[in-house]
């Protein structure tokens, strides 16, 4: 086994974990506080990718375009919350699932018409296309380091926001007892809108930061959404800490599985069998992980208190 390769794949997995965390953090906050199952969270991720691509093309600068995209994400999130999602808070989960499913269909189609099936993208500026060589000869693309660093910064920011500020206190209070927070005279409507906006920005940021590597295309949100579901189910719904740990676990296991399962299988079976079983097993790994964790702890690794 080649340890340099192993380390490089570890970084790839770490980066996937960061993206998953950004999406899952918003999803878990929105569910924990508003009790809303938001399938359209992947759509917000897609918004981020397309907004950023558009602004980058307009401003001709990746950094500037991405910075403009963030307030645009906030605005889009708040607009959706005020127009449609707000009316869903009082509804049951089934209604929420269906209505947000309708939103997915609508926006995927809209973006497909606007940008076509190939979608659009962002070209990395020359100063970010190089490689960083870490000690031990491990080469990681510079941009991957940017993703990992910015994701970790946001995780830190989120931690400080939730645990040290007044708004964070309200968020935590809202997660444990919504009615009581409202009864104590807090403007719960505004709080909900802000939390949704925050979730939209987090998911949008994940979408915009990944676009230079992948692409911005219609339907990109759903594969991430489903992985984010796995993440918050493993982590415990409503827990940001759980989302972080589960996202890293999921990202790393998924990436490592895809790279090394066939190699590992070759040790115990012949080439043909390994080539058939390899992709099958690696695509199922994280779901098996989820099943095992649920079998042991049905409400995830870090279940919310009082639930």
């Amino acid at each position: 086994m080649n340890y340099v390769l192993l380390a490089e794949q570890f970084f790839n997995g770490f980066q996937l974990g960061i993206i998953l965390f950004l999406v899952a953090a918003g999803l878990t906050l929105i569910f924990g506080i508003m009790d809303l199952v938001n399938l359209a969270h992947g759509t917000l991720y897609m918004f981020g990718a397309f907004f950023a691509s558009t602004f980058v093309a307009l401003t001709d600068s990746m950094v500037l375009g991405m910075i403009i995209a963030i307030p645009a994400m906030l605005a889009a999130g708040i607009l959706l919350e005020v127009t449609i999602l707000r009316t869903l808070y009082e509804r049951n989960h089934l209604d929420q699932v269906l209505a947000t499913f309708g939103m997915i269909l609508f926006f995927n189609e809209l973006f497909l018409i606007a940008w076509g099936p190939e979608g659009t993208g962002i070209n990395l500026p020359p100063y970010l296309t190089g490689m960083v060589t870490l000690p031990g000869g491990i080469a990681v693309p510079e941009y991957r380091m940017v993703i990992i660093a910015s994701g970790l910064l946001i995780a830190l920011f989120l931690y400080l926001l939730v645990s040290k500020t007044r708004i964070g206190m309200l968020i935590r209070a809202g997660a444990s007892n919504r009615e009581m927070v409202g009864a104590l005279g807090i403007n719960i409507k505004l709080l909900f809108t802000l939390v949704f906006g925050l979730g939209a920005v987090l998911a949008g940021f994940a979408g915009l930061i990944i676009t230079p590597i992948t692409q911005a295309e219609s339907g990109m949100g759903e594969s991430v959404l489903i992985l984010a579901f796995v993440v918050i189910v493993i982590g415990g719904i409503g827990s940001i800490k759980g989302a972080f740990i589960a996202a890293m676990l999921t990202g790393i296991i998924d990436t490592m599985g895809r790279s090394f399962i066939d190699v590992a299988l070759l040790q115990i079976m012949d080439t043909v069998a390994a080539e058939t079983a390899g992709p099958a097993i690696s695509s199922m790994m994280i779901y098996i992980l989820m099943a095992v964790i649920l079998a042991i702890k049905p409400s995830g690794l870090f279940p919310p208190k009082g639930a």
Binding site: F31, V37, I84, T87, R91, H93, L94, D95, V97, L98, A99, F101, G102, M103, I104, L105, F106, F107, N108, E109, L110, L112, I113, E222, I226, F229, V230, I232, V233, I237, T276, P279, A280, S283, M284, Y287, I288, M290, A291, L294, A295, P298, S299, G300
Partner: protein
């Protein structure tokens, strides 16, 4: 069933639904739109899946967002056996139904340990797992799918599924059978326990019912029924692909059940018919029919919660 009931708007509506299914092979050539026979065959196949979802979602409160996976398993059982030259219906059909039941047992046993939103997400995740599994297996076509050379062989000359009319009316009879099974199940002692567990699981548990076992049994029965839908679909289309268990189809199934009227016996038929008919018409008008369909779905959820059956039942009460 008393005849008086048939004269209410709800009764008339349900009668029309069934008559349309019976008569479509006759009506379609008359109005010169022969492909409507195919559309209706599909409607009936999907209805079976919707009935099975209604059993657990409408009556059992288990919102499975991965129900399409059992359609896929039923379909793949037929496809995989056929690709190995096993075309006998007496092997294909039991295997398809039992495999769906087996997967439902495993998925249900894990998922039912959780509740509420966890259940929604876990069923979705498991369905995606099987979806990706089917995509990754190149031997059975990966994402291109698999063409099935011959339909299930019943070994008798007077009953040949390759004959389109036989296929159509077999589907019809099986759909009616599933409607009957769901009717009988819901009104049985077993069904009452499942329904009571939906309204208050803890209470049922306290008075001594092992609700987990009841719910799991319902889940497995629903899985098997859905497998039947899948093997009919594989036979009818002569084709299977991972698409038949993609998560959007699970979402569409939920929508059909809600649109027709959740927790009603005939709701799934009406829901599937309206849904598939509408998507057929809309997709003929424009390729981007999701643009209309998405908002329609949101409007139904926001303003028409009981679905068609609920609306007609309310209408009856007001005038009755």
């Amino acid at each position: 069933m008393n005849l008086q009931k048939l004269k209410t708007p709800l009764g008339i509506y349900n009668t029309i639904l069934v008559l349309l299914c019976i008569l479509m092979p006759v009506i379609a050539p008359i109005i010169g739109q022969e492909f409507y026979t195919d559309v209706f065959a599909r409607i009936m196949i999907v209805t079976i899946a919707a009935i099975s979802l209604n059993l657990i979602m409408g009556y059992g409160g288990m919102i499975s967002f991965g129900h399409a996976v059992f359609v896929g398993i039923g379909g793949y059982a037929v496809g995989i056996l056929a690709s190995h030259g096993i075309e006998s219906a007496y092997i294909q059909w039991p295997v398809g139904i039992l495999m769906s039941g087996f997967f439902a047992l495993i998925i249900g046993a894990i998922s039912l340990r959780t509740r509420g939103v966890y259940f929604i997400m876990i069923t979705l995740a498991f369905a995606q797992m099987i979806y990706f599994l089917s995509v990754s297996i190149e031997k059975y076509g990966s994402d291109d799918g698999l063409t099935i050379d011959a339909r299930s062989d019943f070994g008798v000359s007077f009953f040949d599924l390759n004959d389109e009319m036989t296929m159509y009316y077999t589907t019809f009879v099986l759909m009616c059978g599933c409607l009957y099974v769901s009717y009988r199940m819901i009104n049985s002692r077993f069904g009452r326990v499942v329904r009571a567990a939906k309204s208050n699981d803890e209470r049922m548990h306290t008075i001594g019912y092992p609700t987990f076992g009841y719910k799991l049994t319902a889940f497995v029965i629903a899985g098997m029924m859905c497998g039947l839908s899948g093997l009919l679909s594989a036979n009818f289309e002569d084709f299977i692909s991972p698409d038949m268990m993609f998560w959007t189809f699970s979402g569409e199934l939920i929508f059909m059940v809600v649109l027709g009227g959740m927790s009603t016996i005939m709701g799934p038929l009406g829901g599937a018919m309206i849904f598939l008919f509408l998507s057929e018409v809309l997709s003929n008008i424009t390729n981007s029919w999701h643009l209309i369909f998405g908002p329609f779905l949101i409007l139904v959820v926001l303003f028409a919660r009981g679905g068609v059956e609920g609306f007609l039942a309310k209408f009856e009460k007001r005038n009755g």
